[in-house]
């Protein structure tokens, strides 16, 4: 059957913009990039089919048993459906084949069937492979096979269209939807003030646009889709409102009602990148780095990532601020956004079902909203905390830990000595499973906060912090050695740092002596 490659390499030009504008005008409602891409492809395929139909108009499928006349156009199925015009005819000469004719044809496709002029048998009485059973000369008994729209609707085409539409001043977008800028409905200051009041009354819970629209009344007689799009468009351009929905869902929130830890990344969670030579890390160190799974570690794990649940070991800054790290594993559990810089979610306590408002802050690599949860369950630094999706709802995340009846245990406890961090062993009641090497207790949080600020102000180096902390931790054990994991957990009280730079300094600097495994002490 005729098969043409024409539709396979799609491009987008100004004619397409005209088409898109007329589609939007005709439908009188906003359409998504996907819907526009599909409509565009359908149109291109129709054009392609029309071109093919024109090419094959009045063309007869070649059959050696038929007789033809000079000037007739033929289609050659055995020659990739090339078309040719008959320019001459003569008697055939072959006693084995009896009486037949030879037609001389000129191909129309410019060189694909070279030479352009060739001869073919006609009026042939002996059987030939190309003999057709019926007299149907309608070419379209052979369906024209063009590329299917599904085949052409690729991610790269959709992205190309999106890039193109973004450059068109005639169009406006909200999320994945597009409409004609000039035809967006008017939303006045009164509407926007009512929207603000509606969100304020919701008490910090985001609302979808339909809810806000019903609170402020309709925007006229236009389609509901256009009213929602117009309201979204105006809310997007007013700084009082922030779009906080996951990909595919538009939810609005008042900027002023958002926690500061969401609007701005807290200094305790900011990692000032330290350059180091990763070749210094032994395979054992790399394994340790992968096990810790810090959100700032450059890990490209080879193991399959669980898309439904993940567990982390809590470090001090996350415990203090009530945040949860977004590392390679946990990132898969939380919803993503296409345009929103923060996403509102519901965090659910698996133990008792209590719900908390949470915020995914992708730029800061954390989720905010667990301070009350951590305090409620008295989770220590070093506790294992898990997250899982609630069924298929991307905006609802179940948080849990492995609880057991609280028992008194010896743990490291932070003790501030003047301007330095120190530790002591003390008994504490613990009711959650934890990593023995990373657990650290803290009582006087305000003094720790003050020391953290001081370390930042003094610009104390990582090396200096390590030299200060290692002997303090070493004092807690008879051998005076400290595991790299413990050091990592303690350093993060004063300065946010993934394990990579810490391990590189331990490995490269002779002032640190390896005592076997990943246990270290200061030399001298």
């Amino acid at each position: 059957m005729p098969h043409h490659q024409m539709g396979r390499k799609l491009s987008i030009d100004d004619d397409d913009l005209d088409l898109i504008m007329s589609i939007l005008l005709e439908q009188e409602k906003p359409l998504s990039t996907n819907e526009l891409a599909e409509a565009l492809i359908q149109n291109k395929l129709q054009q392609e089919t029309a071109l093919l139909e024109n090419k094959f108009k009045d063309v007869v499928v070649y059959d050696p048993s038929r007789t033809y006349e000079i000037g007739q156009r033929l289609l050659f199925p055995a020659l990739e459906y090339a078309t040719a015009v008959i320019i001459d005819q003569r008697e055939g000469n072959n006693l084995d084949l009896g009486t037949f004719d030879v037609i001389r044809v000129e191909f129309e496709d410019g060189g694909q069937n070279s030479p352009d002029i060739r001869e073919f048998a006609s009026n042939l009485s002996v059987a030939h492979k190309l003999n057709r059973d019926n007299d149907d000369d309608d070419l379209f008994a052979y369906p024209i096979e063009t590329s299917s729209s599904k085949e052409l609707l690729t991610e790269s085409f959709i992205q190309m269209l999106k890039n193109f539409l973004q450059k068109a001043p005639e169009l406006a977008s909200v999320g994945e939807y597009w409409f004609l800028r000039d035809l967006i409905l008017e939303v006045n200051i009164g509407h926007l003030n009512l929207a603000e009041a509606s969100l304020a009354l919701a008490g910090g819970v985001p609302l979808d646009t339909a809810h806000i629209l019903s609170d402020i009344g309709s925007l006229g007689d236009s389609s509901l889709e256009l009213q929602l799009f117009s309201l979204n468009y105006h809310l997007k351009h007013d700084r009082r409102f922030d779009e906080v929905g996951p990909a595919g869902q538009i939810l609005w929130h008042l900027s002023e009602m958002q926690p500061n830890e969401v609007k701005q990344i807290p200094s305790e969670l900011q990692y000032a990148k330290i350059e180091y030579d990763r070749a210094l890390l032994s395979s054992e160190m790399l394994a340790l780095e992968e096990e810790i799974a810090d959100e700032y570690s450059p890990i490209d794990t080879q193991t399959e990532i669980d898309q439904d649940a993940a567990t982390i070991t809590l470090i001090y800054p996350h415990r203090r601020l009530g945040t949860f790290p977004l590392n390679q594993q946990t990132r898969q559990i939380f919803p993503k956004a296409t345009t929103a810089s923060r996403i509102w979610i519901t965090l659910i306590d698996k133990q008792d079902g209590e719900e908390f408002s949470g915020w995914v802050v992708p730029a800061g690599r954390y989720v905010y909203g667990l301070e009350r949860y951590y305090r409620k369950h008295r989770l220590p630094v070093g506790a294992y905390v898990s997250v899982a999706r609630e069924n298929d709802n991307p905006g609802r995340i179940i948080v849990s830990f492995e609880a057991y009846p609280a028992r008194i245990e010896w743990i490291r406890l932070i003790s501030i000595q003047n301007t330095h961090l120190s530790f002591k062993n003390e008994k504490r009641a613990i009711g959650a499973n934890y990593d023995d090497l990373m657990i650290i207790g803290a009582d006087d949080l305000e003094r720790i906060d003050a020391l953290h600020r001081r370390v930042q102000d003094e610009k104390r180096t990582l090396f200096a912090i390590m030299k200060e902390i290692l002997p303090e931790l070493g004092r807690l054990t008879p051998q005076g050695t400290v595991h790299a994991k413990t050091l990592y957990s303690a350093i993060n009280i004063l300065r946010r740092c993934p394990p990579g730079p810490i391990l590189a300094i331990l490995s490269a600097n002779p002032e640190f002596q390896n005592m076997g495994g990943q246990y270290w002490k200061l030399t001298g």
Binding site: Y62, P64, F76, A78, L79, G92, N93, N94, L97, F100, V102, R118, E119, F120, A121, L124, H128, K129, L130
Partner: protein, 140 residues
């Protein structure tokens, strides 16, 4: 790009074909050699044939007409016989026949070996020796 040197030793991946220019320069007669590929009775019929008399050969796949002399026509007809290449055919003749059948499309010793069921190394040794057999040469 530089052309490969003619002195490069052919390998199992070197493409060969019938080099008809070799036949033009050769003292051997292509027509006589082609006749040798026909059965004896057909050979007798064709001895002393008039090469200016042309026959319309109709391609069984496409219907295209090629004007051939009697020998060319006889060869075109015989190559359609599945027994044209058989286990009793001498190796050089068998390789030549493969190229007659496939329209002289270049093939490597590996491909020829697979087609003929013979070791590719034997085919390479035959085609890359000091002597050119029946115009079977590497593609330039």
């Amino acid at each position: 790009m530089r052309k490969p040197s003619k002195l490069i030793k052919p390998s199992l991946e070197t493409q060969f074909h019938i080099d008809y220019t070799w036949w033009e320069r050769s003292q051997e007669d292509l027509s006589i050699y082609l006749l040798s590929h026909l059965p004896p009775e057909q050979r007798d019929q064709l001895s002393g044939y008039d090469s200016s008399k042309l026959i319309d050969y109709v391609d069984p796949e496409t219907g295209e007409v090629h004007q051939l002399d009697n020998l060319g026509y006889a060869i075109r007809m015989i190559i359609q016989n599945s027994e044209f290449i058989n286990e009793h055919t001498a190796l050089v003749d068998a390789i030549f026949r493969v190229f007659l059948v496939n329209g002289n499309k270049p093939l490597t010793p590996n491909e020829l070996g697979e087609y003929l069921g013979k070791p590719a190394s034997t085919i390479l040794k035959t085609l890359s020796g000091g002597r050119v057999y029946k115009g079977l040469r590497p593609v330039k």
